[in-house]
């Protein structure tokens, strides 16, 4: 039976009188009535600020836990889908974000599905750092009664593909747990792997819990937010209201400010969320592919039951600007080039190749007799790109603003584009862009508006902070706002300069510290400014300030992290270990949030 957990098995947050009151109310209710009450309560709870941990509602032995760690929202989305399927199948399940998971419950866990992404060079998502450290540590309990399956998410264009998923899968086995299914590894075209994995997970859950085939709907205890009409699979065609370069004519890069209309979409967003953009590959690039491969763009090509002209496959359906290991290997086979094949076997050379080449560079360098159908099959599906939203709907209404750095560069003597930025750059006013909202619960302004916020956003990493400052000013938030911004040149690349000046005048922004790396003799970055103002920064944090970092993950986020540890050590009088632990604690509490890529 699916029983409600006895009061004793959970640490109750209720005072004695409230607990007694609740007990009286619940006494004598039938199980389906109890479930209704539980679901109703959960729905009410979801409207207010969420507590750090949610009580498990079904006995660990009798339910499935779907646990996820997500940076950009993909793992969360897959976990939500699984939880919904479990719910629809009448199986008791709970959906828990990794940082909301109570670590001591792990020992009692019986059925666990884990969806976890790997960032950049093998990093975990920020919300899973604490849990992963715990599982990896010697404190982790033996788990002989646990049955589990892990879905790792990653991007095969990085060498450490799905490293965190692999690590968790191996470690759980090492702790004595039993796999319900082998580790699955999903690439950026994640549905290719995630959809079958979800279906299999559902079957395993059914088998394990021996649920009746037909059952009453069992609402999830953590309510999964109801989805808008438009989502990832059903994007909204947003009208371009403005598309404006916001760096000077002398800037070495192009950065665009794009304003889109969400009017009539039913979509809404909160500061910190991202906008998903479904790009189309640049027509010039598609043309280059067709010419290089001597293929006919008009030719109909069938794949997975769909038939489209090749040019449309390449423009709308296939990834042409990101090189993945899979395509590189396929191309090595088709080209039958010994040098390429050999290079791909060496992990270092492979990594360098994936970092520096787009697929077309391989086509040019290693000619290969691709036929259209094989090409479509070998290429990954095109995936949407996520942009941190640069506006607050409190200020811009049903518009959404983006800050887009255009990827457009010369390499190997040829011009290269990024799919989404080229698509956006080429979008004139009144053009249509397929979009959806990707919520980012890990990157939220403090619920307590009186808290100070410190925002570190060099380059286009400043985007969400434009939204933050708009939101905080419009809603009359009492806390102070401190922004660190950096870029190459003051005169050319000071994104939203006039707006920040105005925000300072109006008191919407309280401090602005700048680092322009190419203006002086020495290169100055935001982390240098953090250190310069370390004492004050530490005082803000000690006073409860929330800290946000957005932008480059490879260098900036690490350098900023290191600077923060140094600041805590110097100004908090902590050892380096304690300073690191202090920062990890901030991360765990959600007071140090990162949106890095």
């Amino acid at each position: 039976m699916n029983a409600v957990v006895s009061h004793e098995s959970l640490a109750s947050p209720l005072a004695a009188d409230k607990a007694a009151q609740l007990h009286r109310l619940l006494e004598g209710l039938a199980p389906h009535e109890l479930y209704w009450v539980a679901a109703r309560s959960a729905a009410l709870a979801a409207r207010g600020p969420q507590p750090a941990q949610l009580p498990a509602a079904a006995a660990a032995t009798e339910r499935v836990t779907v646990l996820y760690g997500s940076q950009t929202g993909n793992a969360k989305r897959v976990a939500e889908q699984l939880a919904k399927k479990l719910e629809a199948a009448g199986l008791p399940a709970r959906l828990v974000r990794a940082d909301a998971y109570v670590q001591r419950e792990l020992a009692q866990e019986r059925q666990l599905f884990l969806v976890i992404s790997t960032q950049g060079e093998g990093e975990p998502p920020d919300d899973a750092r604490g849990l992963i450290d715990f599982i990896a540590s010697r404190r982790a309990p033996r788990l002989p009664s646990l049955r589990y399956a892990v879905l790792g998410l990653g991007d095969s264009s990085y060498p450490q593909f799905c490293a965190i998923g692999r690590q968790l899968d191996a470690r759980l086995a090492e702790l004595g747990a039993t796999r319900l299914d082998a580790l699955a590894e999903a690439d950026v075209d994640l549905d290719e792997v995630a959809t079958p994995w979800t279906a299999a997970a559902l079957e395993r859950a059914r088998e394990v819990l021996k649920a009746p085939a037909a059952t009453v709907r069992t609402p999830l205890l953590q309510a999964v937010p109801s989805h808008a009409v438009h989502d990832r699979e059903n994007p909204f065609a947003a009208t371009v209201l403005a598309n404006q370069r916001i760096v000077s004519r002398d800037s070495e890069r192009e950065v665009l400010h794009v304003e889109l209309s969400l009017e009539g979409s039913g979509l809404s967003y909160r500061p910190g969320d991202a906008l998903g953009v479904w790009p189309r590959n640049p027509p010039a690039l598609v043309q280059q592919w067709l010419e290089l491969l001597r293929l006919d763009g008009e030719a109909e090509v069938s794949h997975n039951g769909r038939t489209l002209p090749l040019a449309r496959w390449l423009t709308e359906e296939r990834e042409l600007t990101r090189l993945a290991r899979g395509f590189a290997l396929a191309h090595a086979r088709v080209s039958n080039d010994a040098g390429l094949t050999q290079a791909l076997e060496d992990p270092v050379a492979l990594s360098a190749l994936l970092d520096s080449h787009q697929p077309i560079d391989l086509l040019r360098r290693y000619p290969a007799p691709w036929d259209a159908a094989a090409l479509v099959a070998a290429l990954r599906p095109l995936t949407p790109r996520l942009y941190s939203i640069a506006s607050s709907s409190a200020v811009v209404g049903d518009e959404v603003h983006l800050t887009v750095s255009t990827v457009d560069y010369e390499a190997f003597g040829e011009r290269h584009w990024g799919a989404a930025s080229a698509f956006l750059a080429a979008s004139a006013e009144d053009g249509r862009i397929p979009v959806f909202i990707e919520a980012n619960e890990r990157f939220r302004l403090p619920a307590d508006a009186a808290r100070d916020v410190i925002m570190i956003g060099p380059g286009t990493g400043v985007a969400p902070f434009r939204g933050f400052v708009q939101e905080r000013h419009e809603t009359g938030a009492g806390g102070r706002n401190w922004l660190f911004f950096g870029n190459r040149h003051f005169a050319e690349d000071f994104l939203y300069q006039v707006e920040w000046q105005e925000a300072l005048k109006q008191g919407a922004l309280h401090r602005l510290d700048l680092a322009f790396s190419r203006d002086g003799a020495g290169k100055v970055y935001v982390q240098h400014r953090l250190r310069e103002h370390g004492k004050e920064l530490y005082a803000w944090l000690s006073g409860g300030a929330h800290l946000y970092v957005c932008g480059d993950a490879t260098h900036m986020a690490k350098d900023v992290h290191a600077a923060l540890i140094d600041i805590a050590a110097e100004h908090g009088g902590l050892s380096r270990e304690d300073a690191a632990a202090w920062l990890a604690e901030l991360l765990q509490q959600g007071r140090y949030a990162r949106d890095v890529y």
């Binding site: 404006q244 370069r245 916001i246 760096v247 000077s248 004519r249 400010h257 003051f490 005169a491 000071f494 994104l495 939203y496 300069q497 006039v498 707006e499 920040w500 000046q501 300072l504 602005l512 510290d513 700048l514 203006d519």
Partner: protein, 564 residues
């Protein structure tokens, strides 16, 4: 003063002797500019905040502030520059400014495009080269100009020494300049006292120019205080004093006008300094501090009366001015090429179109002057017609100098048509905040067209004085051009005609607010008439006057011509 004083007066009074919050503004990293109030005070330190107006609208759309930069103007009395100074100014132009040096109509250098964080090191370097930028702009006595060509007699040297002394002694005394730019000790307590200027300085800028007849290259009648050196038998006897000249006016406001200075009388060299200081002091006390556009000395004179002004001056001096001595000016242009001085040294005047020293293609003028500065043992003189004189060259060095000049395309003075040789243009767009139309950037194309027109009428060799100004404020002294264009709007100018070629008669509006086609169409028949009807040696402006093309009536604002 009963009416409310102008905002500028409030800013000066509150500035603690020109400090304001300039130092704080320089440190503000969020903007490349400084506040409006500090911008007004910054002028007294020799700098204007400007922005690239070509980019203004584009950057507004880019959510970027205007491309602010600073123009910096040196104070070089008499336009004298040593080779060592030249090399330093050249370096500043290349390293800190936009790669050009601009010779101004006030005989000094301007650097353009200096961004905020480079302003302080640039000023410090100018100071280290024993020059300054203080009071190169602002409501003070500006750089004192003096006839450039050190040709004739011993008297020239003495006259220049007077110009330098006036420039030094009439400069502000505030330590603000040292504090802000040279890391001087910051002010503690009450600011120092300015004995001449007080806390609000002058009502408006004040220009002093010294001319040594027969050359009027400084346009002595365009100065607030004009000094006409009177030499007899090579000995400097003293100066005729002329007051109330000024070029500035405002379109559509007949209460503003250009005016030539009124000659008040003669003083001896010993009386000169006291007289100059007293003229400045009367203007300080009598000048209009309510309306800045009526604040120049010329309006003080016209409102109070020249005789009253002279009486007040003599009262303060305690002596009467002598009657003005006779003098005669031949022209107000420069004399190009080599000229031998009284001491056997040689002076080479080079033509620098619009005073802009830059390296452009074959024309490597900036580098050429640097090479000259490296090779040359004498000095350089900047002229009020935006040219440069390589001065005090021993005869045997001339060949070496000529070789450098030729190698860098600086010998254009040999080939230029007459009208190009004498043309003067202000800076205007894109940096000048006041410009309504192009000037410097348009001059070459305009000159080509006017030259073609002159050639059509067989007038290619006619020395006609052409001046173009982007606005009516008159930095290129356009009201003294035989032909002058004064900017009204993009591509549109007032066409003014009929000045003489010696800086003693103002021109008149001939066509108002017209474009290039209309300007050329208006000039065409006038050139035809001039070619056919001119008398021997008659200038174009004089011809237009005699033929009745422009109003011949004497203007009360133009002093009667004084001849020997």
């Amino acid at each position: 003063m009963s009416a409310a004083q102008s905002d500028f007066e409030r800013i000066k009074a509150a500035s603690r002797q020109l400090r304001g919050s300039i130092a704080e503004g320089l440190r503000d990293p969020v903007t490349g500019g400084i506040s409006d109030d500090d911008g007004k005070l910054l002028k007294f330190h020799g700098s204007y905040q400007q922005d690239d107006r070509d980019l203004r609208e584009e950057r507004r759309r880019q959510k970027l502030e205007p491309a602010y930069s600073f123009m910096l103007r040196a104070r070089l009395p008499g336009g004298v520059v040593t080779p060592a100074q030249w090399l330093e100014y050249d370096r500043l132009a290349r390293e800190y400014a936009n790669g050009t040096l601009r010779i101004t109509t006030r005989q000094t250098f301007q650097w353009h495009g200096i961004i905020k964080r480079r302003l302080k090191p640039t000023i410090a370097a100018i100071h280290a080269s024993l020059a300054s930028t203080i009071a190169a702009c602002g409501d003070v006595v500006r750089n004192v100009v003096s006839t450039a060509n050190p040709v004739e007699t011993q008297a020239h040297g003495e006259a220049y020494a007077w110009a330098a002394r006036l420039s030094d002694e009439l400069a502000p005394r505030t330590r603000a300049y040292h504090e802000i730019w040279l890391d001087g000790e910051p002010l503690v307590g009450e600011p120092e006292v300015e004995p001449l200027y007080g806390t609000t300085y002058l009502p408006r800028k004040f220009k002093i120019g010294l001319a040594i007849p027969p050359l009027n290259d400084v346009d002595v009648f365009s100065q607030d205080l004009g000094l006409i050196a009177i030499a007899e038998d090579g000995v400097l006897r003293g100066f005729n004093i002329a007051v109330g000249g000024s070029m500035g006016a405002t379109h559509g406001d007949p209460s503003t006008y250009p005016r030539l200075a009124s000659v008040l009388g003669f003083v001896t060299p010993e009386q000169l300094f006291a007289t100059a200081e007293a003229v400045v002091a009367v203007q300080r006390d009598w000048g209009n501090r309510v309306e800045r556009k009526h604040a120049r000395l010329k309006y003080t004179l016209d409102h109070r009366g020249v005789d009253n002004f002279k009486a007040e001056l003599e009262k303060r001096l305690g002596f009467a001015l002598e009657t003005a001595r006779p003098y005669r000016f031949e022209h107000n242009g420069d004399r190009y090429g080599w000229i031998e001085g009284h001491d056997g040294r040689w002076h080479l005047t080079l033509h620098i179109e619009s005073g802009r020293l830059a390296d452009r293609g074959e024309q490597r003028w900036l580098s050429g002057l640097r090479e000259l500065a490296l090779a040359h043992q004498g000095d350089f003189r900047l002229t009020c017609n935006q040219n440069v004189i390589v001065a005090n060259v021993p005869a045997q060095e001339r060949g070496r100098i000529d070789a450098i000049v030729e190698a860098h395309g600086l010998d254009s003075y040999r080939r230029n048509g007459a009208i190009r040789s004498h043309a003067v243009a202000c800076v205007a767009l894109p940096t000048c905040g006041l410009a309504m139309a192009e000037a410097e950037r348009y001059l070459p194309a305009l000159t080509d067209k006017v030259e073609a027109l002159l050639a059509k009428h067989g007038l290619a060799d006619a020395p006609i004085l052409l001046r173009i100004s982007g606005c009516p404020n008159g930095c290129s002294r356009p009201y003294l051009g035989e032909i002058a264009l004064v900017g009204r709007g993009p591509g549109r100018y007032d066409l003014r005609l009929g000045a003489d070629f010696s800086g003693q008669r103002l021109n008149r509006v001939y066509r108002e607010n017209v474009d290039e086609a209309a300007i050329l169409a208006a000039l065409d028949p006038l050139f035809a008439g001039y070619a056919q009807e001119r008398q021997p040696g008659e200038g174009f402006g004089d011809f237009l006057q005699r033929s009745g093309t422009v109003d011949a009536a004497p203007d009360r604002r133009i002093p009667l011509e004084v001849t020997a």
